[in-house]
């Protein structure tokens, strides 16, 4: 089960898309909480585009090793712009692949958490 925090000001499309997904719990909170869910690339990250993939490096890591983001991973990376939260990123990815949000949402959330764990992205108050 994946939990999302979505406030009342979110676009209706996102609410419907996430609300219909069996694996997702949609919660309504204050907008301040919602802002915490926005994702951005950390300031201590270097990255380059190589064809259709992205190679990123968490500079703050004790032993920085470049990581390759290919396919969907690369698409998700490109949607992280500091303004979108998990739900909006899932919608953007679904749009990119012309599919339903429900199809990609679990992978998107898991991947965002993975990127956070390896020090490539962070949550912020927009």
């Amino acid at each position: 089960m994946v939990s999302l925090i979505v406030d009342g000001e979110r676009p209706q499309r996102i609410r419907e898309a996430w609300g219909h997904a069996d694996s997702v719990t949609v919660m309504t909170t204050e907008s301040g909480d919602f802002a915490l869910q926005r994702w951005r690339v950390r300031g201590d990250v270097a990255f380059v585009e190589t064809g259709r993939s992205v190679v990123a490096l968490a500079l703050g890591s004790p032993s920085p090793v470049p990581m390759s983001l290919q396919g969907t991973a690369s698409t998700i990376w490109h949607t992280i712009n500091g303004l979108r939260d998990s739900a909006e990123i899932a919608v953007a990815v679904a749009d990119a692949y012309d599919t339903e949000v429900a199809v990609v949402q679990t992978e998107v959330i898991a991947f965002l958490q993975q990127l956070e764990e390896v020090g490539l992205i962070e949550r912020h108050r927009g």
Binding site: V48, P66, S68, L115
Partner: protein, 305 residues
């Protein structure tokens, strides 16, 4: 996310970001040179770069290298040649990366004291974006001087001749940049070493640092031949004559262990080692002849002035 054979171009771009970050974290003054810096400033066409070149403030080289060591970068191993003839840079490698990091302590051709040269290039610093990060480099005049000295480091090198000609073409249309380079050359002891460039541009050098005759001789020897022969000659000049025979034997025909330190690519067979050492000897001899001719030419030039 996957681990993968890292593309060299990507590695170099990320490496530029890495050295810049490590320097900032360690409060070390660093300047990215060559490679991306030249391309970003329009001094050379973009290309695939083999390594990351970073120039570190002389007082901070040790802490900077230590910071990279802590992140898995290390020197290739002992090298008896570099121990003797010295090097203007420390090459660091990392088993997970397909590119080296060259940490420059100085740059051949800037003959003023290392601190003065770095301070001048640092004073002129600016920033470029590489690998999604803002990194510090010197200004166009500084990088143009680096490129000119790099391309003139060896008298006969077709690739570098092309670079030199490209730079001459670019500078001949930019008087302001040439003027800036003249100021830089005066401060950094590069009036004489950049003289061929300034002569092509019809530019007159400005009063400034005057390098020693020995420093100029070493520069001329370095340019005369692409081997390390010129640096070996400087090394022998620094020794007492009494130690010449012993060092000459080591230099001319090193033991297999020493030879392999400097040429790890040579197969470890007796025949290959013999052939490798003969090639090295012939190359060194050829270098001696070239340097002798270069010295004669330089003496003639001095007489005709």
């Amino acid at each position: 996310m996957t681990t993968f054979p890292l593309d060299q171009a990507a590695a170099v771009a990320l490496g530029c970001g890495l050295v810049s970050y490590v320097a900032e974290e360690a409060s070390v003054r660093s300047l990215l040179i060559k490679g991306h810096a030249l391309a970003e400033q329009g001094l050379r066409d973009p290309r695939r770069y083999a390594d990351v070149d970073v120039w570190i403030a002389p007082e901070s080289v040790t802490p900077f290298v230590e910071s990279l060591r802590a992140r898995g970068w290390h020197e290739r191993g002992p090298n008896w040649v570099l121990d003797r003839v010295g090097s203007h840079s420390i090459t660091l490698v990392n088993d997970s990366w397909p590119c080296d990091i060259d940490v420059h302590l100085r740059f051949p051709g800037f003959l003023a004291p290392d601190e003065d040269v770095f301070d001048e290039l640092w004073r002129r610093r600016t920033t470029i974006v590489v690998g999604g990060r803002t990194v510090t480099t010197t200004d166009r005049a500084g990088n143009a001087a680096v490129l000119a000295l790099h391309s003139m480091r060896q008298e006969r090198n077709d690739g570098r001749d092309d670079e030199f000609e490209h730079l001459v073409g670019l500078l001949s249309e930019d008087d302001e940049l040439v003027s800036d380079m003249l100021d830089l050359a005066a401060v950094t002891g590069a009036n004489e070493t950049l003289a061929p460039l300034f002569a092509r541009l019809g530019a007159t050098t400005r009063p400034g640092y005057r390098p020693s005759a020995r420093a100029l001789r070493e520069w001329a020897a370095r340019r005369a031949h692409m081997s390390r022969t010129g640096r070996w000659l400087s090394y022998f000049r620094s020794l007492s004559i009494r130690s010449w025979p012993r060092e000459f034997i080591v230099a001319a025909w090193p033991s297999a262990d020493l030879f392999l330190q400097d040429h790890p690519e040579v197969p470890h067979t007796k025949a290959a080692l013999f052939r490798g050492r003969v090639r090295r000897l012939v190359n060194g001899g050829s270098g001696m002849i070239r340097i002798a001719f270069a010295n004669v030419r330089a003496a003639k030039r001095r007489r005709t002035r």
